[in-house]
């Protein structure tokens, strides 16, 4: 039995300033924020960026409008901005050794700055779309499960899994401008 997390309740408590809402948000999304930050700014600075995301999110909690999307998507948007702030500051202070992109990323060589930007966009969109579509995409393309395995894990008909996957991947491609 998967519990629904009461997104409406969480959002309401968030804008009300209930500090439980911040702790809940941290539990739900700190792993994602930190993971995205690692990819974008590297492991050394990911902790700082994660802290800045949650501090600025809480300070600006009044600016969150539930009608514009789920809290998780809003937090990933903030992550994008704090990452950009961090990279601008780092560039300005010339802390980075000679590197064509001027960026220190976790996996040098194959992973580029554009990859991090698009990854953030993808995960923001996944948060916006929500479950079960989000879980289906992650189970298929991050964890390498087959469609029948996903159907079994989530207790959904196989056809539903396939159609969710097709539609959601299409929507994600549009989000990163790959819809040709």
């Amino acid at each position: 039995m998967t519990a629904t997390l009461g997104d409406g309740e969480h959002a309401e408590a968030w804008t009300r300033g209930d500090e439980d809402a911040l702790e809940l948000a941290y539990r739900r999304w700190a792993g994602l924020v930190h993971g995205l930050a690692r990819k974008a700014v590297g492991p050394t600075d990911a902790d700082d960026v994660t802290q800045q995301v949650f501090v600025s999110a809480w300070r600006g909690r009044d600016t969150y409008d539930p009608r514009q999307g789920p809290l998780g998507a809003w937090l990933v948007g903030i992550t994008r901005r704090r990452v950009a702030d961090h990279l601008r500051t780092r560039h300005r202070h010339a802390e980075v050794p000679a590197d064509p992109a001027g960026l220190h990323t976790e996996d040098t060589g194959t992973w580029q700055a554009q990859d991090s930007e698009e990854l953030i966009t993808v995960y923001e969109e996944l948060e916006r779309i929500g479950d079960p579509q989000r879980r289906i995409v992650l189970l298929a393309h991050v964890h390498g499960h087959t469609h029948p395995e996903i159907a079994e894990l989530l207790g959904l008909p196989l056809g539903t899994v396939k159609s969710h996957l097709t539609r959601t991947m299409s929507r994600l491609r549009t989000a990163i401008g790959e819809d040709r």
């Binding site: 309740e9 702790e23 941290y26 739900r28 792993g31 902790d47 994660t50 395995e149 491609r173 790959e178």
Partner: protein, 204 residues
């Protein structure tokens, strides 16, 4: 990987993004907000955020705070994003052991350690404890739950060292996937099981 579009490659290369920050990050968030909140004119009652009592734990919901119930459920509900260890965990709280089994060599019967399914604050975890580290010289060790006839499998993550704890995806039926398997994998970007198992055990 020819034929895979950019989106698929992006998701696969980034891999699981569940990256729990060290506890110091949460501490820093609280500290920074604590100083802010106590000087804020907008809050009717200044909230001393930095002093949120760590000892209250999460085993009992605080009355009049419905979100506390969600907090208890959150550990298991955020698939692949959840920060597995509770932030202010009551260190004395004993996790409830739901099932356990011995891990043995796949080739031969030598005991290698134990596997346990525990419930901790509303979430199920698989806890691996090996007597000695396994040899992963060719790559890395990955932990799986398998169906008895190996017709299906769940990957839980990488084993680093002799101890590992893995949050089970919410809704996982351990009786359907009762076999714990530790395989040695190559860094080849192929998420499927290599077929080379070093240890197995039954927990369902």
């Amino acid at each position: 990987m020819s034929g895979d579009d950019r989106l698929v490659r992006l998701l696969r290369e980034a891999g699981p993004l569940s990256s729990p920050p060290p506890p110091s990050v949460w501490d820093a968030v609280r500290t920074e907000l604590g100083a802010q909140e106590s000087s804020s004119a907008s809050a009717p009652e200044p909230v001393d955020f930095a002093a949120r009592a760590p000892a209250t734990g999460r085993s009992t919901p605080r009355p009049g705070r419905p979100l506390a119930l969600l907090l208890a459920a959150a550990a298991g509900a955020g698939l692949m994003y959840a920060v597995p260890a509770l932030l202010d965990r009551d260190e004395d709280a004993q996790p409830q052991v739901l099932a356990s089994g011995e891990l043995t060599q796949v080739e031969g019967e030598a005991g290698l350690g134990s596997a346990e399914i525990v419930e901790r604050e509303g979430a199920q975890l698989l806890v691996i404890d090996l007597d000695e580290e396994l040899d992963s010289s060719e790559g890395y060790l990955e932990v799986w739950l398998l169906r008895p006839d190996v017709s299906g499998m769940l990957t839980l993550g990488v084993l680093d060292g002799s101890h590992g704890e893995y949050l089970l995806p919410p809704g996982t039926d351990v009786e359907a996937y009762p076999v714990v398997d530790i395989s040695v994998e190559r860094l080849d970007g192929d998420p499927t099981h290599s077929g080379v198992s070093l240890a197995r055990g039954q927990v369902g």
